[in-house]
Symmetry: none
Subunit: 415 residues, 2 copies
C-alpha cells in the first residue's frame, strides 16, 4: 500500500510551527508496513491544495491530510478534498452535538462557522473528535482512500490511534510486528555498543535504537505473513536484549513512559510517593498526576522554589542552605526526608538544581541533585545535564522518576 501525507496550513509554510504531525504519521505508517511515498505541505489555499491532492490521488492508494478542518473561512481541506473526489458534504447529528457540547463547556456559543465545521463527507467513516470540535473522516471511493485529520497534534494523534490504525491494519496483508524495549539510565551511545552484534546480525527482525530525553528505546521489528510468525521472529531477540539491559528496562509497552511504569509499580506494591521539587517546579508531580489512577499512589507534592519554602514546607535547615547552598547533596537529602515526613508517603524523591538560562561558575547550568528516600535509606545522585532550561528540567524529572522506580524494585527484591 502506497501512502502520502499532506499537511495543510499557512502557519507551517511561514515556519511558525514545526511539522511534527508528518513525522508522527510517517512513523505510524512505517510500523504498519505502509510505504510513505512523500510528505507535502501546502498553505490554506484551495487551488494549490486541489492540484496537489489530485496529483497525490493519481499516484498513491491512501492520502492522509492533516489540518484545515477548523471553523474559519481559510479552513478548506474538507471542502477541497470532497470536491476533488466528487463527494457531497452532509449534516451529521452526532458531530454537531459534539461541537455544541464542547463549546458549551467553554461557555462559547456556536457560530455559523462551527456548524460548517460539523459537516461530514457523505458515506464516509466519521472520526468523532473527543478533543476538539472538528470531526475527521475516512473517504473511500474507487479503490482510493482519503483520510482527513485535524491539525492540532493532541486531536490528530488521539483520532489516529482510535480509528485510523485499526482501519489501516484491516487493509494490509503483510504484518509488521514491532516490539519496543524502553530503558532509562544507559544512554543511546553505550546502548548501541552493548547491542552492536545483535543490531548488525539481524535483517528480519531489524533492531534499532532511538534516543529520547534521558531514556532510549530499542525497537525490534519483524515482517511476516501472520502476526504469530512475526511475533516468533521477535521473541528470542527481545529476550536477549532485556537480559543485557537488566533493571534499566522500565517497560516493554510502547505506550508506557517512565511515569506510567512508576505508578504501575507503586500500585502493584501498594506504596505511595511524594515529590519535592525546586528547579523542576512541578514537572515531576505533573507527570505522575497525568497517569490515570495516580490518586491511589500520590497525595502530596511540594514545590519549594525559594529557600524560604524549602525550610517552611520541608524543614530543610537554614544551616544546610547557608553552608552548602540550595543546590547540594545535603539539601536534596533533606528535601526528600522532609517530603516523606510531611506527607507520610512510603517513598519520596527530591530535585534541586540550576536549570539556567544563566550559567556561571557559582551556578553551573545543568547541575542537579536528586534525592530519594524510603524513610530508612536515603540516596542522592549528582547530574550535569545539557541543553536549555526546558531540556534540563525534563531530564532531571525523568531521572528522578527513574530513581524512585529503582528504589521500588529494590523494595520488591527485599520483600
Amino acid at each position: 500500500m502506497k501512502a502520502e501525507l499532506i499537511s495543510v496550513g499557512t502557519e507551517i509554510l511561514l515556519g511558525n510551527i514545526v511539522n511534527t504531525n508528518a513525522a508522527y504519521l510517517s512513523k505510524q505508517c512505517a510500523s504498519l508496513g505502509i510505504n510513505v511515498y512523500a510528505q507535502s505541505v501546502v498553505g490554506d489555499n484551495d487551488k494549490r491544495l486541489g492540484t496537489l491532492f489530485k496529483d497525490a490521488m493519481s499516484r498513491s492508494d491512501v492520502v492522509i491530510l492533516t489540518g484545515g478542518l477548523g471553523p474559519t473561512e481559510d479552513d478548506l481541506t474538507k471542502e477541497t478534498v470532497c470536491e476533488c473526489m466528487d463527494v457531497p458534504l452532509v449534516r451529521d447529528v452526532k458531530a454537531e452535538e459534539n461541537m455544541v457540547n464542547i463549546l458549551k463547556g467553554l461557555s462559547y456559543t456556536p457560530s455559523h462557522n462551527n456548524y460548517k465545521q460539523a459537516l461530514v463527507p457523505k458515506d464516509s467513516i466519521i472520526l468523532y473528535n473527543h478533543n476538539g470540535t472538528a470531526p475527521g473522516a475516512i473517504i473511500e471511493k474507487n479503490g482510493f482512500t482519503a483520510i482527513l485529520l485535524p491539525g492540532p497534534p493532541i486531536e490528530m494523534t488521539a483520532m489516529f490511534e482510535e480509528y485510523v490504525i485499526p482501519y489501516l491494519r484491516s487493509k494490509t496483508n503483510d504484518v509488521l510486528y514491532s516490539y519496543t524495549i524502553k530503558e532509562c539510565g544507559i544512554g543511546e551511545s553505550l546502548l548501541e555498543t552493548m547491542l552492536l552484534d545483535i543490531i548488525d546480525n539481524q535483517t528480519n527482525p531489524t533492531v534499532a535504537t532511538y534516543a529520547k530525553t534521558s531514556c532510549s528505546e530499542v525497537r525490534i521489528t519483524a515482517k511476516a505473513d501472520s502476526f504469530e510468525k512475526a511475533q516468533n521472529l521477535v521473541k528470542p531477540i527481545a529476550e536477549e536484549v532485556i537480559k543485557r539491559l537488566g533493571d534499566n528496562v522500565y517497560s516493554t509497552d510502547e505506550k508506557e513512559n517512565i511515569e506510567d511504569a512508576l505508578v504501575r509499580l507503586l500500585r502493584k506494591n501498594n506504596l505511595t510517593i511524594s515529590v519535592a521539587e525546586s528547579c523542576t517546579g512541578g514537572l515531576t508531580c505533573s507527570k505522575i498526576v497525568n497517569v490515570g489512577g495516580a490518586s491511589e499512589v500520590f497525595k502530596y507534592g511540594f514545590i519549594t522554589y525559594a529557600n524560604e519554602a524549602k525550610m517552611k514546607l520541608l524543614g530543610v535547615s537554614k544551616d544546610t542552605l547557608e553552608k552548602y547552598t540550595a543546590v547540594s547533596e545535603k539539601t536534596a537529602r533533606e528535601m526528600a526526608c522532609g517530603a516523606i515526613k510531611e506527607s507520610g508517603a512510603d517513598v519520596a524523591v527530591s530535585i534541586t538544581g540550576y536549570a539556567g538560562p544563566y550559567d556561571s561558575e557559582d551556578e553551573p547550568k545543568g547541575l542537579v541533585f536528586i534525592g530519594c528516600t524510603n524513610g530508612k535509606d536515603t540516596f542522592c545522585r549528582q547530574f550535569r545535564f545539557n541543553g536549555n532550561r526546558q531540556k534540563i528540567r525534563e531530564s532531571a524529572s525523568v531521572m528522578a522518576l527513574n530513581m524512585a522506580r529503582l528504589m521500588i524494585i529494590q523494595y520488591e527484591m527485599e520483600n
Copy 2:
C-alpha cells in the same frame, strides 16, 4: 519571488527525524519577504526527486533543497538536480581540500565516495561547509535558481546564514512583516466572528486566526518594498484588533506564551504568586518555573492531590470537603486563600477538578473550578473542559494562568 522547499531523505519519510529544516527555512524566507509556495519531502530516490524537482522548476523561481549531499551511494541530490538543469559536475580544489582536512581531523582516510562528494556544479556559487564535508551550491540558469544545502541542521543553518541570506536579500525587493496578537478567553470561532469584517476586507495586510489550547492568535502580515512601509500597513489594523479584544490580549510578542506574559506582569508590578493545584498536579507551577527569572515572582507551590493534603497544607476545612466535595467552588476558594496565606504571596490561584480518564454523573470529566485571590477579593470560575486527561489539565492550567493575569491587570488599574 516564489520559492519552494524540498527535503531529501528516507529517514524523514520513515518518521525517524522531524523535518525542522523546513520550519527553519520557511521562517527565514518569510522574514526575507519570499513567498514559500510548498514544502515537500522525498526519499533517497533519484526518479522521484527528479519528477518533483522538475515540477518545482516549472512553478517556482527558487527551489531550496536540503539533504542528499552526503558521501554514500543513496545521496543523489546534486547529481539529480544537475541532470534536470543540464549542468555538469566539476572538481573544485578548495572543496576537496576542505573534505580531506575534516576527515584527517577524525583520523579517516578519504574514500572514492568522499571525492565524489567534493564535486560541484559548474559555474555555480559554491557554499563551502565549515561544519562538514559536503559543499553546498547556488545554481542559476535561465532565471531559475536551485540552492543545494546539506541535511544536518548545524551545517545547513550555518551555510544558509553565511551565504544564502545575503544572496537572497540581493535578489528580492519585497519585505514581509508579521505581527502576532495573542488572546486567551475568547475562543477561535467567536474571535473570527468579532474580526470578520477586518479579515474579509484585507488583502495587504492579510489577517488570519490560529487556535491554540484555550488560546488563539491573530496574525497580521503585510508585504511592502521596505520594512517601514510594511510595518505602517500593519499598524492601524493591529490597533483595531487589540481594541476589540481588550484585556483578552495577553501578548503581542510572538515568542511569549501565557506564562511568560504572567511572569512579565508580576515582575513589572513587583508581585509574587503562589499556586495550589489538585487535578493539574504541578503543571501550572511548572509552566511558571519554566520562564527564566521566575524565582523573583514564584516561591511556593502546593500540590494537594488528596483531600488530606488540601486540609493539611492549605487549611481547606473538612466540612467543605464533606459537604461540597473536593471539586467545588468552595474548595477552590479555600485552596486559593490557603495558598496565599501559607506562602505570603500577593496573588494565589487554585485548580481543582476531574481530569478523567473516568467520567460519571458524580465525577463529570472536565469539570474544573479555578479560584483566584489577592487576599482581599476572591473569584472563582467554573469550567467544563473537553478532551483527554492531558488536554483537560492543559486547558485548566492555561485558564488559571489567565485568571491570575486578569487579576493583576485589575490591580494595575486600581494602583
